[in-house]
């Protein structure tokens, strides 16, 4: 004989016992009391099984060494400390016809379906297949001994039968009360139930201290007994049907049959899960909670472990007697059976953060990496100020592989781009590039990037790292909407990009084999071999210094990076992370879409009307801009300077000497400029007249024209 540990005491069980049967075999109630159905319909046998509370012991086979603890008396079980997560297997299965419940009605339904030539899968909790829920699809979630099954079915038949009605009377939470089927099951397992009294609706009260000692009948008779078997009829076991009103299921057999409600309960516990009594129901009814849903919500009947399995017929009988009409049962909610978060989480994958082809290089260089725009990116390599100076004074490498990259081509490509972007496209010459913003239909800034013309009918587009994930969708959606002939090729993940930036950037390219005369000038681009790697070299500037973005196939990224790091060594090259980059671009007054802009930022709010050509006949957002241009708009992004230290980004901007809660905006970008020796900021003033001097972090800040650094842009053209 094997043993399980029940509340610290080993007890013996027979082969085939559930934990509940093992308990009653040893003269114990598996929980602390209440009618046992031993069919998974109620919550009266729940206990902590191997560390998991609220487990129905009647549905759990006894295994050698299982550790069962009863829930504490009068209190909820403790979830305990962090448990080692055990992997739960997930299977996806398909079946033409699934019959839930393999009793008489289920077997008949299965036979009928097979006669039609269907393949049929039968599920029954008694075989270890507990149906947790029926969802859209239809998908049936089944908890099995080996894991969670997601079962995709064409037809579902519910043949779940009927649940036996529990007695509601004084003493109905004692140990020793069984439904007829539960008693039969216990006896079939060889359990000695002692002196048994079988009763029906004439049961008035059950007496006893912990266990049953006697019952009292309507005629006053008192019968001494150890076990009460209450035969009170049954109610449809239709939880799954009520759970999925929009999923087509057939309900057959007793689950679909009309069942008479029991008599209205007079006294005792109606809802064993919540220990709700008839007195409680009377209490809420008399206070005006006078329909089924209000009684349920006010008394909290029917929302416990069994989800109304025990109380529903009594609750309906209660409402029927007082209101004069029989209410429909309330909607059932998943999960119908045991399902832990660990089980539910199985098989689910959280979105991954992407790594650039240079990830290992960054790690080797001691980078602190962080998540930004869906990617792991170097935040800094230990000394962001030194990285800053490398850009301003020498040469530096930045990994910009995360930028959105796209090739668009075809006979209608110019037309498509003219409609997509608010600036002119047709006049961009082959080999030239232009900075662009793109707008929503409401005229608000969605993203920014570059348009580079490769040929008359072919362009390269770039987008921000954060915008890259939706850029392809955005372009394709519009192109298809317009019915234009444009071929779209997203290369965000197939191509890497390295930004070579700083006054010595040209020199580094020369050392990498790019002759001076080949080097593209500002806002030009060209295909060139750099250190032997074929690159699309784009000359732009985000940092304010001469910059060459080297776009290349990712299988050459590491080779190119290492070559540039090696060749640049005599020039003092070092890589820079996002922290330095954001400071560099802040000095140039370049906005970061999503950081300096808001959901509804129009170009004029960030002083970028120059990037919008309203003389164009049509582009996304044009109608909105034409309309809103006539409206007053006080919200503006400004540049500010102030003495260091730089205030935290997010600091509020107040009028000088204003009240503490007088907020006119907040700081969106803030940087202690090593070059200027003071802080440079961007931030909002959302109220006119706009002030020239404001208060930030308790100090004065002065509005300043942007760019703060090299307003003529001479450095980028060096």
């Amino acid at each position: 004989m094997s043993r399980v540990v029940y509340d610290g005491t080993p007890i013996e069980y027979d082969e085939g016992d559930t934990l509940a049967i093992a308990a009653v075999r040893n003269g114990q109630h598996p929980a602390r009391g209440g009618t046992l159905c031993l069919a998974g319909d109620c919550g009266n046998c729940v206990a902590i099984v191997d560390g998991t509370p609220w487990v129905r012991t009647c549905q759990t086979p006894a295994r050698p060494g299982s550790v069962v603890r009863r829930h504490p008396s009068g209190a909820h079980p403790s979830p305990g400390g962090p448990e080692q997560h055990t992997a739960v297997a997930v299977r996806h299965r398909r079946a033409h016809h699934v019959v839930i419940g393999n009793g008489e009605s289920g077997a008949a339904a299965a036979a009928a379906a097979r006669a039609q030539g269907d393949t049929v899968l039968m599920l029954d909790a008694a075989d270890g297949n507990e149906v947790v829920g029926v969802f859209d699809g239809p998908t049936i979630i089944v908890r099995t001994p080996s894991g969670i099954d997601q079962l995709h079915a064409h037809h579902i038949t519910l043949a779940t039968g009927a649940a036996e009605i529990h007695p509601v009377c004084p003493g109905n939470m004692l140990a020793g009360i069984y439904t007829p089927r539960a008693a039969a099951a216990a006896q079939a397992a060889g359990v000695d139930l002692g002196r048994i009294a079988v009763v029906g609706r004439n049961l008035v009260a059950i007496h006893g201290e912990v266990g049953v000692s006697a019952i009292e009948l309507a005629d006053g008779t008192v019968i001494e007994c150890d076990t009460v078997v209450a035969d009170l009829g049954s109610a449809p076991r239709d939880l799954l049907a009520r759970m999925a009103p929009m999923v087509p299921v057939s309900v057959v057999g007793p689950a679909a049959a009309a069942h008479a409600l029991p008599p209205c309960p007079q006294e005792g516990v109606v809802c064993p899960c919540g220990k709700i009594t008839v007195e409680d129901l009377d209490g809420v009814w008399s206070k005006g909670f006078n329909e089924l849903e209000l009684v349920k919500r006010a008394s909290l009947t029917g929302v416990g472990t069994c989800q109304g399995g025990v109380c529903m017929p009594h609750l309906r009988a209660f409402v029927a007697e007082r209101s004069g009409s029989e209410p429909q049962p309330f909607t059932a909610r998943p999960a119908a059976r045991q399902l832990t978060l660990g089980e539910a989480a199985a098989g689910y994958h959280i979105d991954t953060f992407r790594r650039t082809p240079l990830h290992a290089e960054h790690v080797a260089l001691g980078a602190t990496l962080d998540k930004f725009g869906g990617w792991y990116r170097p935040w800094h390599y230990g000394d962001p100020v030194a990285e800053y100076w490398a850009v301003r004074e020498a040469v530096s490498l930045g990994d910009v592989s995360t930028l959105g990259k796209m090739i668009v081509s075809g006979p209608d490509v110019v037309e498509a781009l003219e409609r997509l972007y608010p600036n002119h496209v047709h006049d961009i010459k082959v080999g030239r590039a232009r900075y662009v913003i793109n707008l929503t239909e409401r005229g608000h800034i969605l993203d920014d990037g570059m348009i580079l013309r490769d040929a008359d009918d072919r362009f390269t587009l770039t987008f921000t790292s954060g915008g890259a994930s939706t850029a392809e969708m955005w372009v394709r959606d519009w192109v298809e909407t317009w019915g234009l002939k444009v071929h779209v090729l997203d290369r965000t993940v197939s191509h890497g990009a390295i930004n070579v930036t700083g006054p010595l950037a040209g020199e580094l390219l020369r050392r990498a084999g790019v002759a001076d005369e080949e080097r593209p000038k500002f806002l030009q681009h060209r295909r060139l071999a750099v250190a032997g790697v074929p690159c699309h070299v784009m000359r732009l500037s985000f940092t304010g210094e001469a910059s060459f973005e080297l776009h290349h196939q990712i299988d050459r990224s590491v080779e190119l990076w290492q070559a540039l790091m090696h060749l640049g060594q005599p020039l003092g090259v070092r890589p820079h992370g996002l922290q330095a980059l954001f400071g560099l671009r802040c000095e140039k007054g370049h906005i970061l879409v999503g950081q300096d802009t808001e959901l509804d930022t129009s170009p004029r709010r960030v002083n970028m009307d120059w990037a919008v050509k309203l003389d164009k006949p049509a582009f996304i957002g044009r109608e909105a801009l034409v309309r809103t241009a006539r409206l007053p708009d006080e919200r503006r992004l400004f540049g500010f300077t102030m003495e260091g230290p730089a205030p935290l980004e997010g600091s509020v901007i107040r009028p000088v000497g204003g009240a503490a809660d007088d907020v006119i905006g907040h700081v969106t970008s803030s940087w202690n400029s090593p070059l200027f020796g003071h802080a440079v900021l961007m931030g909002w003033q959302k109220r006119a007249p706009h002030a020239d001097v404001v208060e930030i972090d308790g100090r004065e800040a002065h509005v300043s024209p942007v760019p703060f650094y090299d307003p003529e842009g001479a450095r980028a053209r060096l």
């Binding site: 979830p79 448990e83 209490g283 998943p334 660990g342 199985a346 509804d600 809660d661």
Partner: protein
Amino acid sequence: MNEFVETLLDLPWQTCEPKPAYDVVIIGGGGHGLSTAYYLAARHGITNVCVLDANYIGSGNSGRNTTIIRSNYGIPESVRFYQHSLELYQGLEAETGSWIMHSTKGQIWLAHSVTAARTERTRALMNQACGAHTDYILPDEIKARCPQIDLSGGGRYPVHGASYHHEGATARHDRVVWTYAQGALRNGVHIFQHTPVIGLVKDGDRVTGVHTPNGTISAGIVLSAVGGHVSTVAGWAGVRLPIRTHALQAFVTNAYAQEFAPIVSSNDLVFYVSQTPRGQMLIGAEYDRQASYRTATSYAYLQACSAKATIMFPFLSKLRILRSWAGVCDVSTDFSPIIGHTGVDGFMLSTGWGTWGFKAIPAAGEQLAALIATGTPSPLIAPFGLDRFANELAMADPSSAGTR
């Protein structure tokens, strides 16, 4: 009688049929409709008011939310409005004598990246400036306030810090609904359940009443306080709304010993968890991407939400999911509510409550009642008028919605 039942106040229903006309007819007997009715009667003496609900009171989103009360928003107008609401909640039990099971728990809003930390710092700074009590806290303090957390985030979501909203709270959703219903009924307001509004009565451009299956009710003002189908109701009045409706799902576990003190949310993982006064762990996440009016729940949601929650709180993996549900959220394009006049005489709105409607019930009702009584929106709700969209004055606050 258990404590929960014993402490309920009566719902003193009117015994008459609907009158042919009222000064104000409110469509929707949820928290918003009922609180407006209560404040109209209790603060302004406007008692010739009726509230109509298609089902039973509180059957919509008021009974399908995660009961969180907070004011840690990202723009001054919202912080001020929700802080006022939070304070009204704090005083609601004293004002009405009704136990709403209000519990101040504090809300930890986790950041797992430098950028998320920046967002939470920004939130704290903006909150402090506008009267909400929020600080940026570091991992040690997070661990002290919530020992169950895995600060390493399973190795993938390490905790950088969090904003901590000291006054974040919860209250029992149904009891808030009933508290306002009780208060309204006691003051003579009529509330009719199972009385759907199937159309609006119009006189020229003006809305003058509502159609129900039992007949027409005239009204000086019709207020739509419906959740989920506001676009339909507004459409009857000829008002187009910048609203999309999405289902938001949530679930509770069985009850466990009270060991989890705060409300915890995650900026990057987008989920939130708290423990109810009854011991259940209440867990929610972002709304469904697909716009829909359905209130069915999906297994994919249970999977995603369970996966996220157990990353940060491994102890949850052994807890049992008890029941899941969904509400339908009217989400405005700027993630802020739409309150007040609509441009159609006689027709007013309270909508756009998205995933944040429960916490706004007291303030929205109080301020709408004042608007109806005086004709002028107070500074607290003036920024949230429908005309802001036409006037390019959106109240954009996407990072405060607890969804994305």
